[in-house]
C-alpha cells in the first residue's frame, strides 16, 4: 500500500512538473531555447536582456502557421540577444484576447513582444458587429515579417469554365457565384478580396462562412462552391499537385511561389491587392534604449538568410518592412478593407 501511495505521489509530482513546463514558466516548447553563450553584439550602456527570458506572444494556438512562424523567429531572436526567447500562445477571439491582454495587463519591461497580423489587427476596430478597442496605431510597431497574398482557384475538371476568361464570362452570365471564407465581414482578407473582385467585375458573390482554409478547399473540391479564395502559402502545394488550378493572385507582382500565375491587374488592368500579413509589435511604454535593442534583434532575425530559406520551404514569402513603411502598409490595408465594405 505504501508503495502504491509513493508511486502515485511521485506520479503527481512528475505531472505537476510536466504541466508547469507548459504553463506558468514560459517554456511551452524547447524550440526557442538557446544557451546564453552566443557571441552576438551586446547592448551598450544597458545590461538588457541580462540573460532573462524574452517571450514572444502568439494569439493563435500552438501548431498553426502563425505559431510556427513565431517559434522559428523566437529561436533566432534568442540567439541574437544571447538569451532564451520562448513562445507563449494566448488564444481566443481571433487574436484579440492576446492584444487586449497586452494593452491592459502587461508590464512594459521589454521582456515581451507579440505577433500582430492583418487583417485581424487592422480591421477589428471597424467590425460593425463586434468592434474591438485597438488597432495597429496603439502598438509600437517593430517590423513586418511575411506577406501572404490572396489568390483564387477553380477545380481542374470543372465543365463550366477552365481559365480566367471563361470563368469571368460564366460569372457574368450567372450573375452570382458561391464561394466560402472564414468570415463574411471586414475581418476576413478572403471575403474582402471576394467583394473587391465581384465589385470590380460587376457581379454578385454569396459567401459561406467556413472554418478556414482547409474547409474552403474541401468545399471547392466537393463542388459546393464555384471557386475558392485563399492565401498563396496554403494553396501552392495542392495547385502543384493538380488538385485545383490557381487563376490569379491579388498582388502588385507575381508571387515567387507561383511564377506562372498572373496578377489580377495583368488580367483585367485593375489593381486589387489582398493579403494577410504577419509582423511584430511591442508596447509603447517600453524604455527607449531597451526598445532599440529588442527591435534591432527582431529585425535582424527576420532578415536572417537561414530563416528566409526555412520559410520559403513552406511557401511563405518574407516581406520585410519597418518604420513608416510598415505603418503605412498596415494603414493602407485598413483603408482598402474599409472601402470594400463601405465603412
Amino acid at each position: 500500500m505504501k508503495k502504491v501511495i509513493s508511486l502515485v505521489a511521485a506520479l503527481a509530482l512528475a505531472l505537476s512538473l510536466v504541466s508547469c513546463g507548459s504553463t506558468p514558466s514560459p517554456s511551452s516548447s524547447g524550440a526557442g531555447s538557446t544557451p546564453p553563450n552566443s557571441s552576438a553584439p551586446q547592448p551598450t550602456g544597458s545590461s538588457y536582456p541580462n540573460g532573462k527570458n524574452i517571450v514572444l506572444y502568439c494569439g493563435y494556438s500552438a501548431g498553426g502557421s502563425s505559431d510556427t512562424l513565431c517559434r522559428l523567429t523566437a529561436a533566432k531572436v534568442g540567439e541574437i540577444l544571447g538569451t532564451t526567447c520562448t513562445v507563449e500562445n494566448v488564444t481566443g477571439a481571433s487574436g484579440w484576447v492576446l492584444w487586449n491582454q497586452m494593452m491592459e495587463s502587461t508590464t512594459p519591461d521589454g521582456y515581451s513582444f507579440f505577433l500582430i497580423n492583418s487583417p485581424n489587427v487592422t480591421t477589428g476596430k471597424y467590425d460593425v458587429d463586434n468592434p474591438m478597442k485597438y488597432d495597429q496605431n496603439d502598438f509600437e510597431l517593430i517590423c513586418n515579417h511575411v506577406t501572404d497574398s490572396n489568390c483564387m482557384a477553380i477545380r481542374v475538371d470543372d465543365s463550366r469554365f477552365s481559365d480566367w476568361d471563361s470563368f469571368v464570362a460564366y460569372w457574368k452570365q450567372e450573375g452570382t457565384l458561391i464561394t466560402s471564407a472564414s468570415g463574411l465581414n471586414i475581418t476576413s482578407d478572403d471575403a474582402t478580396a471576394d467583394y473587391l473582385m465581384s465589385n470590380d467585375l460587376g457581379v454578385e458573390v454569396d459567401i459561406i462562412a467556413s472554418g478556414g482554409s482547409s474547409d474552403n478547399i474541401t468545399f471547392l473540391l466537393n463542388e459546393t462552391t464555384d471557386y475558392v479564395m485563399g492565401n498563396v502559402s496554403e494553396m501552392v502545394s495542392a495547385h502543384n499537385e493538380g488538385q485545383y488550378k490557381i487563376l490569379c493572385v491579388f498582388a502588385e507582382e507575381r508571387d515567387p511561389n507561383l511564377p506562372d500565375v498572373p496578377t489580377y491587374e495583368e488580367l483585367t488592368g485593375h489593381k486589387i491587392i489582398g493579403c494577410s500579413s504577419r509582423g511584430y509589435a511591442m508596447l509603447k511604454d517600453i524604455p527607449d534604449d531597451i526598445k532599440q535593442v529588442l527591435s534591432d534583434a527582431i529585425k535582424q532575425a527576420v532578415q536572417d538568410p537561414e530563416l528566409i530559406q526555412q520559410l520559403m520551404d513552406i511557401y511563405t514569402t518574407t516581406d520585410y518592412r519597418d518604420g513608416q513603411d510598415y505603418t503605412d502598409y498596415l494603414n493602407e490595408i485598413t483603408d482598402t478593407a474599409r472601402a470594400a465594405f463601405g465603412l
Binding site: V4, T23, A31, V90, V97, G183, A209, T224, E241, Q243
Partner: protein
C-alpha cells in the same frame, strides 16, 4: 516503396521516436486536460530538428497512444483523459467500482490496439479510395450527421428520458455561446472576451465528469467509505488479458466500431469524440442487453475504445492524400508535414523521395498501436491499484490534475473557472438524476449542426433546400437513419404489444428470455 519504408523504420532515430512517442502519448493522454491535440501541437516545434520520418512518427505515435491513454483514467477515476474517452467513463468506472477495473482496462487496451491497427491497415492499403469519402460530404450531410448524433442523447439519458433531453438542451445552449458564425456578432458573451471562442470543451468536460466525481467521493468519505470500490468488492479480481470466451462476444462490436471509427475519422472535423459516441450508441442499439450499457458493459467499452483509436488512422487518410485533415489533431499535424517537405497529395505516396517516408510513417503508426497495446497490458496491473488508494488521497490529486489540465489547454485561468463552475453544475445535475454525458455530446454536436445548417442555407439560396436535398443520396440516407433512430423504439413497443396481444405465448417467451 513499402520495403523502403520498412528499412527507414529501422533507423535508430525513428525507433526512438516511436517508443518515446508511444509511451509519452499514453502518459499525456491519461492526464485530464492534456489531450492528443495539445500534445501534438506542442511537439511540432520539437520535430523541426528531426528527420521527416522520425518527426512525423513521433506525432502519429503520440496521437494514437494519447487517445488510448485517456481511457485509463476514464475507467479508474471517471476522469476521461481526453474527450474521446468520455463515452468510456460510465461503463469503465462502474466496473472499477465492482472491483473489475483490471478487466475494464484490459478490454480498453485490447480494443484500442485492434481499432488503431485496423485503421493503420486501412491507411496503408486503401487510403486513396477511401479519401474520396471525405469529399462526398458537404454541409447538409454534416448537419444531418450532427442531428443523428444528437439522437444518441436518447440512449445516454439514463433512467429518465425527460431529464436526459433537458441535459441535452443545456449542452446545446452552452454550444451557442461565442461568435455567430455568419455575422461574427458575439452571442451570450456578456462582454467577456474569453467567451468569444465559446466555452472550451475540455475544461467543461473535466468539470462535469471529474470534479463532480470528486465531490461524490468526498460525500462517500463522509459516509465512511474509503476507496472507490463497492463494499462487496474489496479484492481486485481478474486478469487484463481477455480469454477467448470473453473476447469472442466482443468481436462483432470491435469490427463494427473499427469501421465506424475509420469512416468518422475520414470526415473532416469529426474526431475521436464523435466516433466513440456514435459507435457506443450503435453497439447499444444492436445489443441484446442495452440495459447493461452505462452500468458496466464490456461491449460499451469495446465500442467506444475501438472507435476512438480507429478514428486516428481514418483521420490521417484525407490528411495524407488530399491535405484535408480528418480531425482536429490531424489539422495540427498538417503544419508539421509541410515543414518536413511532405506536401499532401497522391504524389506523396509515389514520389521516390517522400514515398518511403510516408510508408515508414504508416508502418510506424501500426507499430505504435501494437506497442501501445503491449505496454498497456504490462502496466495495467499496477495502474489499476489506484482504485484501492484511499479517496482522501485521490480526491486532492484529481482536483490538482483537473486544475492544471484545464489551465494547460489555453494557459488561461478563465478555463479553470469554467472547470470549477461546470464541476458544481455537474455535481448537482448528477445528484438530481440528470446525466452529464448529454451535455458534453450536445456541446460537441450543437455547433456542428448549427454551422452546417446555416452554410446549407447559403448554398441552397438559389436551388432551394428541398431540391438540393433530393439530389444528394447520402443526405437522404442520413435523414432516413435519423427517422429510424428516433422512432424505432416506439415502433418496437407497438409491434411487441400487438404480438403479445395476439399471442399470449410470446409473453411467456419474452419473460423467459429475460
Amino acid at each position: 516503396m513499402i520495403a523502403q519504408g520498412l528499412v527507414l523504420l529501422t533507423q535508430p532515430d525513428v525507433i526512438i521516436a516511436l517508443v518515446v512517442g508511444t509511451l509519452g502519448g499514453m502518459f499525456i493522454g491519461a492526464m485530464p486536460g492534456l489531450s492528443a491535440s495539445m500534445a501534438v501541437a506542442l511537439l511540432i516545434p520539437v520535430t523541426f530538428s528531426m528527420s521527416g520520418a522520425a518527426g512525423i512518427t513521433l506525432l502519429v505515435a503520440v496521437y494514437t497512444s494519447a487517445i488510448y491513454g485517456g481511457s485509463i483514467t476514464a475507467c479508474l477515476l471517471h476522469t476521461p483523459g481526453t474527450p474521446a474517452s468520455a463515452a468510456t467513463a460510465a461503463d469503465g468506472f462502474a466496473l472499477t467500482k465492482q472491483g473489475k477495473g483490471l478487466k475494464a482496462i484490459g478490454t480498453a487496451t485490447i480494443c484500442s490496439m485492434i481499432g488503431g491497427t485496423i485503421s493503420a491497415f486501412a491507411l496503408l492499403f486503401i487510403a486513396p479510395a477511401l479519401s474520396q469519402v471525405a469529399l462526398k460530404f458537404s454541409s447538409l450531410e454534416y448537419f444531418l450527421i450532427g442531428v443523428f448524433g444528437l439522437t444518441i442523447i436518447g440512449s445516454l439519458a439514463g433512467d429518465n428520458m425527460m431529464k436526459g433531453l433537458l441535459s441535452g438542451c443545456l449542452g446545446l445552449l452552452i454550444g451557442c455561446i461565442g461568435l455567430d458564425i455568419q455575422s461574427s456578432a458575439p452571442r451570450y458573451c456578456f462582454g467577456v472576451l474569453e467567451l468569444q471562442s465559446g466555452v472550451q470543451l475540455v475544461p467543461a468536460m473535466i468539470g462535469l465528469f471529474s470534479l463532480s466525481q470528486v465531490m461524490f467521493s468526498i460525500e462517500d468519505v463522509a459516509k465512511g467509505k474509503s476507496t472507490v470500490l463497492d463494499d462487496n468488492a474489496k479484492n481486485l479480481t481478474g486478469s487484463p488479458l481477455l480469454s477467448w470466451p470473453e473476447l469472442r462476444p466482443l468481436l462483432p462490436t470491435i469490427a463494427q466500431s473499427s469501421i465506424i471509427g475509420i469512416l468518422v475519422g475520414i470526415l473532416p472535423g469529426a474526431g475521436g469524440d464523435i466516433g466513440s459516441w456514435i459507435s457506443y450508441n450503435t453497439a447499444k442499439n444492436a445489443s441484446k442487453h442495452p440495459e447493461e450499457f452505462g452500468h458496466g458493459s464490456y461491449v460499451g467499452i469495446a465500442a467506444s475504445e475501438t472507435a476512438n483509436n480507429a478514428v486516428t488512422g481514418g483521420a490521417l487518410i484525407p490528411l495524407l492524400t488530399l491535405g484535408i485533415p480528418g480531425s482536429g489533431v490531424a489539422a495540427i499535424m498538417l503544419g508539421g508535414l509541410m515543414i518536413k517537405g511532405l506536401n499532401p497529395g497522391y504524389k506523396l505516396f509515389t514520389d521516390p523521395v517522400t514515398g518511403p517516408v510516408v510508408y515508414c510513417i504508416i508502418i510506424a503508426f501500426a507499430a505504435a498501436n501494437v506497442l501501445m497495446g503491449g505496454c498497456g497490458l504490462l502496466v495495467c496491473k499496477q495502474v489499476v491499484k489506484i482504485s484501492t488508494v484511499k479517496m482522501t488521497i485521490l480526491a486532492p490529486l484529481i482536483i490538482a490534475l483537473s486544475t492544471v489540465g484545464s489551465y494547460a489547454v489555453r494557459q488561461s485561468m478563465f478555463d479553470v473557472y469554467v472547470m470549477l463552475i461546470f464541476g458544481v453544475i455537474g455535481y448537482f445535475m448528477r445528484k438530481y438524476g440528470f446525466a452529464t454525458a448529454p451535455v458534453v455530446l450536445a456541446m460537441i454536436l450543437g455547433p456542428i449542426a448549427e454551422t452546417n445548417f446555416r452554410q446549407t442555407l447559403v448554398i441552397t439560396k438559389r436551388t432551394g433546400l428541398l431540391n438540393y436535398f433530393l439530389t444528394r443520396p447520402i443526405s437522404i440516407c442520413l435523414a432516413i437513419l435519423i427517422v429510424v433512430a428516433l422512432f424505432s423504439p416506439l415502433l418496437m413497443k407497438i409491434i411487441n404489444k400487438k404480438a403479445i396481444a395476439s399471442d399470449p405465448n410470446v409473453l411467456a417467451d419474452t419473460a423467459h428470455e429475460d
